[in-house]
């Protein structure tokens, strides 16, 4: 212990002697570790926000999507098939008792113009059940009525973000006229804010119209793209999803063994899918960041090699007065590890800073995990040992007399 303390002092002294070089070498480690920490924080944050989103959307929710991208053979995108109809939605509502709320849906992106302001957003064509199943209250006005759906009325309910961008904050826009695809729509309500928090898809950045209106006035289609259903209780979700699938297979005359032309997913399944994707992304980003950590390690090796060459005479002297090869090895290893751990620690701090900044200024969610910190710290130590080992062995193998004679 005493001995290690003394070796540590020698190492600190050696590193202190060449401050600029030490700082630059550490910079490699700092950037590498900070990148790893920030990337993992971003990934974990995205994961957490997805879980949040699912929770706020309601766990009882089941989605039916037109098309089936899981089917072998023809690869269709989700919503690409036009076999899902409003009648399917009605059938689900009427024939499946545990389907408490049912909303047919289509979705498109369009610009909404109000006076001189305009805003590009996702326009959801949906049904009156949607705010009920998602427990989504109104801030101003009212949601559209069954009558609006039947008559394909040109009415729109704005999300909080859209309302703010078109009419300003704390302004009640109900009764105003906006233009979508060059047609006048009457604003009848504004949804309460669900809070951004999601990072990738702001739930408040949306506008809702009756699905019939979207079909006829905005998209010119007969079919629908999805049906959102809410089961009457959490235990009913699985059975309800299965019943819906059976019903649609019958209605679409799909034989046993043939591929469905739709997909039924519970919220839980979708969450699992998206979490999986995010995990892969996180691993990928962390991997890329890891490469810079590796480069930092090579920087340490490089500088340790230079240091060994520069200090050949010093090494020779230390050996001449009794240092063993192992003493010299330890000294240089400790120096490398001090470099990497010091750089790593600063990198961790910087990683925290970056994550904080990303959340603060870009409003992307980040989560710093203790695993990421421990992982980076351990990795730094391993990098120090790994990349310090070769230079240290080189130093330890020197012959005292030849080293002393080195110019």
């Amino acid at each position: 212990m005493m001995r290690l303390l003394m070796i540590l002092r020698v190492a600190l002294k050696a590193l202190n002697r060449n401050k600029m070089r030490t700082a630059l070498t550490m910079l490699g480690m700092i950037i590498g570790v900070a990148a790893v920490i920030a990337m993992i924080a971003l990934g974990k944050g995205a994961q957490a926000s997805i879980e949040d989103q699912i929770r706020s959307a309601g766990t009882n929710i089941i989605n039916v999507m037109a098309g089936n991208f899981m089917a072998m053979g023809v690869r269709q995108g989700s919503g690409a098939s036009n076999t899902l109809t409003p009648e399917d939605a009605a059938a689900i509502r009427n024939q499946i008792p545990t389907a408490q709320y049912v909303a047919a849906g289509v979705s498109t992106r369009n610009q909404i113009i109000a006076g001189h302001q305009n805003w590009q957003t996702r326009i959801q064509g949906t049904d009156v059940d949607l705010p009920l199943m998602r427990s989504w209250p109104m801030k101003y006005g009212l949601f559209f009525t069954p009558q609006d759906v039947t008559t394909a009325a040109k009415v729109v309910v704005l999300g909080a973000v859209v309302s703010t961008n078109l009419f300003g904050e704390e302004t009640d826009p109900t009764g105003q006229i906006v233009r979508i695809k060059n047609q006048p729509f009457k604003v009848i309500g504004v949804l309460a804010s669900k809070g951004a928090g999601t990072g990738f898809e702001d739930q408040d950045d949306t506008a809702m119209v009756p699905y019939t209106t979207a079909q006829k006035k905005l998209m010119g289609i007969q079919h629908i793209q999805n049906v959102t259903i809410s089961a009457s209780s959490a235990h009913e979700v699985k059975a309800t999803a299965e019943a819906i699938a059976q019903l649609l297979r019958t209605r679409h005359k799909i034989m046993d063994g043939n591929n469905d032309d739709f997909m039924v997913r519970t919220m839980e399944e979708m969450a699992a899918m998206r979490t999986e994707t995010t995990k892969t992304m996180t691993a990928l980003l962390a991997g890329i960041a890891g490469v810079s950590l590796l480069v930092g390690g090579i920087g340490i090796m490089n500088i340790m090699l230079v240091s060994v060459t520069e200090r050949t005479r010093e090494i020779g002297l230390r050996m001449a007065i009794g240092a063993r090869g192992s003493d010299v090895l330890t000294q240089f290893l400790v120096e490398a590890v001090v470099l990497s751990l010091f750089g790593g620690s600063i990198g961790i701090a910087l990683g925290f800073g970056i994550s904080w900044g990303v959340t603060e200024f870009l409003t992307w969610p980040t989560t710093i995990s203790s695993e990421a910190v421990l992982l980076s710290f351990g990795f730094s130590a391993i990098i120090g040992i790994f990349f310090g080992f070769y230079p240290a062995t080189k130093a330890a193998k020197l012959d005292p007399i030849e080293a002393l004679r080195f110019e």
Binding site: R311, E314, M319, R324, P400, L404
Partner: protein, 259 residues
């Protein structure tokens, strides 16, 4: 029993296709308490011989018995231990660590001691060694703040720190002027007489050789003469006779050291 006993010692360097025979069969016995001057022209093998005696190098063949123990074929680590505990080595170029205080330079061998020595003890021993060479008041100076003579005395203090019974010096006055050389030789003579340390000192100057008790001369890797000094010089006497300059300061600053 001699402290150093060397028989038919040979060292051959191979440089490319050429074999350089630095030592061609050297026999020598050195008794405890002797002050042996080693002379000879440049390239005669003095340094090679001294490095082997100092366990810094190993002979190609032959036998080297140190304190009754054959060290010629010891392992690297065992040799390191001998260098640390039993032999003090003084180089022509001082080899002090720069940007490191005199006292820390002197303490350095204790860092590699196989016994565990506490910090306070290390310090006390380093101070004692600096006192022997008369540099206690300079213990916190860095090498570049010391004259050549002072640097060499720090190097001697470093060689003394582990109480070795043998001190080897390879042209310790080679980089020093006459006056400073006398000061350094005084240190060696006092260590030899007051502490009974056996000293082997290389010099190519006949004058310096006269400070020892006995002189051996090398030529072409052989010892060609070996005789006691009849007219021994005494540094202490000569120093008293010299016109006083600055008493603690010796000579010009010389070549910078390793580190």
């Amino acid at each position: 029993m001699p402290v150093i006993s060397v028989r038919n010692l040979r060292k051959t360097y191979v440089v490319g296709d050429i074999q350089v025979h630095a030592l061609r069969g050297v026999d020598l016995d050195v008794e405890a308490g002797e002050f042996l001057s080693v002379t000879g022209p440049s390239g005669s093998g003095k340094s090679t011989f001294m490095h082997i005696l100092g366990c810094l190098d190993r002979p190609t063949s032959g036998q080297y018995v140190l304190d009754g123990q054959d060290v010629s074929m010891m392992s690297r680590d065992a040799l390191a231990k001998v260098r640390n505990h039993r032999i003090g080595f003084v180089f022509q170029g001082f080899n002090l660590l720069s940007r490191t205080s005199a006292i820390e330079n002197v303490e350095l061998p204790l860092l590699y001691s196989r016994d565990h020595i506490r910090g306070a003890d290390r310090h006390a021993r380093a101070r004692a060694a600096l006192e022997i060479v008369g540099l206690l008041d300079r213990s916190h100076h860095h090498p570049n703040q010391l004259s050549g003579g002072q640097q060499q005395r720090v190097a001697i203090a470093r060689a003394l720190i582990n109480n070795p019974s043998i001190l080897l010096a390879d042209e310790p006055t080679g980089n020093l002027d006459t006056r400073t050389s006398v000061e350094v030789m005084d240190v060696f003579q006092r260590l030899n007489i007051e502490r009974g340390i056996t000293i082997l000192l290389i010099t190519h100057e006949h004058d310096i050789a006269q400070y020892g008790t006995r002189t051996v001369a090398f030529r072409d890797g052989h010892i060609v003469s070996d005789a006691p000094n009849t007219q021994r010089r005494w540094a202490e006497v000569e120093m008293a006779a010299l016109p006083p300059l600055d008493p603690s300061n010796g000579g010009t600053t010389n070549q910078a050291a390793a580190g």
